[in-house]
């Protein structure tokens, strides 16, 4: 599976780090070139009693031309990782590689990496064009080339008519575009985006999400995007790394992360989900069986790195939209009493009090003629396909 392929194998990286870091020329098993790689990266702020571990031995390989998202709650270390890649901070431990070359010790101005800052950080004493051309100017490019590139960038972000405005005279959305153009103008190998959409209102944010995706497609530059917004992460990314407390918990395509969360935190952080206590019946790969609280057995998928044999108590997750309410309690995998029905327009949420305790939420789409004839208080069953069941590591 994709998830398996994308997993980072610490052992391999340790070997690489021990040998000559640059020699590996970062090839992934899929054959895609690795753009940025973090090998055992830790970042500790403060000393002794005030020590804060912002990053804890993080391993990650980000591929060329990929839209890669670091997703997590505030304080999870995602911005710290971004700052280490940009060069604003240096790792306490470990290495950052850019195309196989160790850049851990390089200052930011020697890294072919540009950043779009959270509050844009546009230079207030320069015009829009002055901001966009700044990087090229610092690289010592000739004036004519800078002017041509600035015009090209302005066209790319559809800002040509505001070229000579002061940055204080343009709106937030426009500032966002200038910040993007400024970071893209020097044609960086990697573009880092630190929650760039968080200051925009909802409508503008949706527009910019599509815009960013378009820019990434057009420029072919590797984007590393930091956000705490799961929806943003799922809609825009090729791959997502979910982070918590300085660690990367899971890396995968949005679909893998959503459908196959490996840990409780990931399942909880992304989307709504139902947690159920269950028991492992068989841990043979391909024939994994779990016993539900109701006593019924169902096939389930185990996450990578899962350890445990038959009889182990486990937690499983089932997404609300992967289940359905059925009329006869006996025909479902779980049985309970319908406690609450919440109508959302496009779909309806059924809160079912399970006979074995706990609540299970089922989300069903409101298709024409699909209304189930149940009322609050009815005894119902809950059915789901076996591929809806995901076992958690913890």
């Amino acid at each position: 599976m994709l998830a398996a392929k994308n997993k980072v194998f610490p052992g391999r990286h340790e070997l690489r780090a021990a040998g000559k870091a640059g020699a590996g020329a970062g090839k992934e098993s899929a054959g895609a070139t690795v753009a940025v790689e973090a090998i055992g990266v830790s970042k500790i702020f403060g000393q002794n009693d005030d020590r804060v571990v912002a990053l804890d031995k993080v391993h990650v390989a980000i591929r060329q031309n990929e839209f890669f998202t670091l997703l997590g709650p505030s304080g999870c270390g995602k911005t710290t990782l971004l700052r280490l890649i940009a060069g604003f901070d240096h790792p306490t431990e470990g290495h950052i590689l850019l195309h196989g070359e160790d850049i851990s010790a390089l200052p930011p101005f020697k890294r072919p990496v540009n950043t779009v800052f959270q509050n844009y950080a546009l230079f207030p004493h320069m015009t829009v064009a002055g901001n966009i051309g700044f990087g090229l100017e610092m690289l010592g490019k000739p004036r004519a080339e800078i002017d041509a590139r600035v015009d090209e960038m302005l066209k790319l972000v559809q800002m040509s008519e505001l070229k000579n405005r002061q940055t204080s005279q343009i709106s937030g959305g426009q500032q966002q575009r200038v910040a993007l153009a400024r970071a893209l103008a020097p044609s960086p190998q990697v573009l880092l985006l630190d929650e760039p959409l968080s200051a925009l209102d909802l409508k503008l944010r949706k527009e910019m999400q599509i815009e960013l995706k378009r820019l990434q497609h057009e420029t072919g530059i590797t984007f590393i995007f930091v956000t705490h917004d799961q929806e943003e992460a799922l809609t825009m990314s090729d791959r997502v790394a979910v982070m918590d407390q300085g660690r990367i918990l899971q890396i995968g395509a949005p679909r893998d992360i959503y459908d196959r969360p490996a840990e409780r935190f990931v399942a909880n952080f992304i989307g709504d989900t139902n947690f159920l206590e269950a028991e492992l019946l068989s841990a043979r790969k391909g024939a994994d069986q779990v016993k539900l609280p109701s006593g019924k057995a169902v096939a389930a998928s185990l996450p990578d790195g899962f350890s445990g044999s038959a009889g182990r108590k486990i937690t499983i997750v089932v997404r609300p939209e992967h289940a359905e309410v059925v009329a006869r309690p006996a025909s479902g995998l779980l049985a309970g009493t319908l406690g609450n029905i919440v109508y959302f327009g496009t779909d309806t949420h059924y809160h079912v009090e399970l006979d074995t305790g706990g609540e299970f939420i089922v989300r069903m789409q409101n298709l024409r003629g699909s209304e189930i004839g149940h009322a609050v208080g009815d005894k119902v069953g809950i059915a789901f396909k076996s591929d809806a069941v995901q076992v958690l590591k913890d």
């Binding site: 940009a86 540009n114 700044f134 400024r182």
Partner: protein, 320 residues
């Protein structure tokens, strides 16, 4: 239709009266504000403009035999600011003594300002980049010299640099020099003294500007391939320019008019404008000349400010 019109005109009447009320309130507000600045205006009028006017008038009068003035119109004083008649053949000459003092004042004040900026900028940058809770301590240390009388501070400098002072005795004991280096009673000693005295006046406005500086802009500069020097020149300096201007003005202007420092450290030999003015009102018994020199000093300050502000405005349009 008629009813509608009546209603409309009613509305118009009430709208106009509302506007009148607003105008009246604004009028009252302005009057109240004038009342509030009155004490300041009185102080400026009595303590600054009035005396200044007296000085201006005196500069156009004849000098009295034992100081003071004779109330006859005369331009002699202004003439004597830059020119003089030869004692023997009555030919016109430039007043070399005055001109050299004028030149020394401008030169030493300018150099003091430049040195204060060169030393003050790193100091202010250092303080502004300390953790927020440490900054008051550093600022406190910078302002400590303010607590001591100017004269005492100046004599302290004298003690350090005089021929039998700490520096010379140490160097002689170490065998590095045989003869003490003459530092006291030179232009250097005056500059050193002024630098020491006016240094906090440079650091404080610089700090105020640097503290407000958004250091994410500095990071953005580094991110966009600017080296440390380029970040300083292209981002930090343009953004803290108000602090640089304020600090420079606060150092340059009092340095131009400095009196105690050149008096003590210049040893009565190396005069600055302040000392020359004092001389005219004192031993020189030439009040009109003193008054004319004072106005000259004022004009130099104003010209310097004009040039400075002009340049700043120009460089800003260049940057922007």
């Amino acid at each position: 239709m008629a009813i509608a019109r009546t209603e409309n005109s009613d509305f118009a009447v009430s709208a106009r009266s509302a506007a009148e009320i607003a105008a009246e309130a604004e009028h009252l507000d302005i009057r109240k504000r004038w009342l509030m600045v009155t004490p300041a205006l009185v102080v400026i009028g009595l303590a600054a403009l009035g005396p200044l006017l007296i000085v201006l008038v005196y500069s156009f009068l004849q000098k009295g035999p034992y100081g003071g003035v004779i109330w006859n119109f005369s331009t002699d004083a202004w003439f004597n600011v830059v020119l003089q008649r030869d004692m023997f053949d009555d030919t016109l000459q430039f007043a070399d003594a005055h001109l050299s003092i004028l030149w020394r004042s401008v030169r030493l004040s300018f150099m003091t300002t430049v040195l204060a900026l060169a030393a003050g900028f790193p100091t202010a940058y250092f303080i502004a980049t300390r953790p927020a809770q440490q900054r008051p301590l550093w600022l406190f240390l910078v302002t400590i010299p303010f607590w001591t009388n100017l004269l005492i501070r100046t004599f302290a400098i004298m003690e350090v640099i005089r021929n039998e002072g700490i520096i010379n005795t140490t160097l002689i004991k170490l065998g590095l020099i045989v003869q003490p280096i003459q530092m006291l009673y030179t232009d250097f000693s005056i500059m050193l003294g002024m630098l020491y005295v006016f240094f906090p006046l440079m650091v404080l406005p610089l700090y105020a500007s640097l503290e407000k500086l958004d250091f994410r802009l500095v990071e953005a500069g580094y991110d966009l391939y600017a080296t440390r020097f380029q970040v300083l020149r292209r981002i930090i300096i343009p953004l803290v320019k108000p602090g640089i201007i304020a600090g420079s003005i606060l150092v340059f202007i009092p340095a131009l008019g400095a009196y105690v420092t050149p008096r003590v450290l210049g040893g009565g030999k190396n005069l600055m404008l302040g000392n020359l003015i004092e001389l005219q009102f004192g031993q020189g018994r030439n009040w009109p000349l003193g008054a004319a020199l004072s106005i000259t000093l004022l004009m130099i300050v104003m010209v310097a400010l004009l040039v400075y502000v002009r340049n700043v405005a120009k460089s800003e349009t260049f940057n922007g």
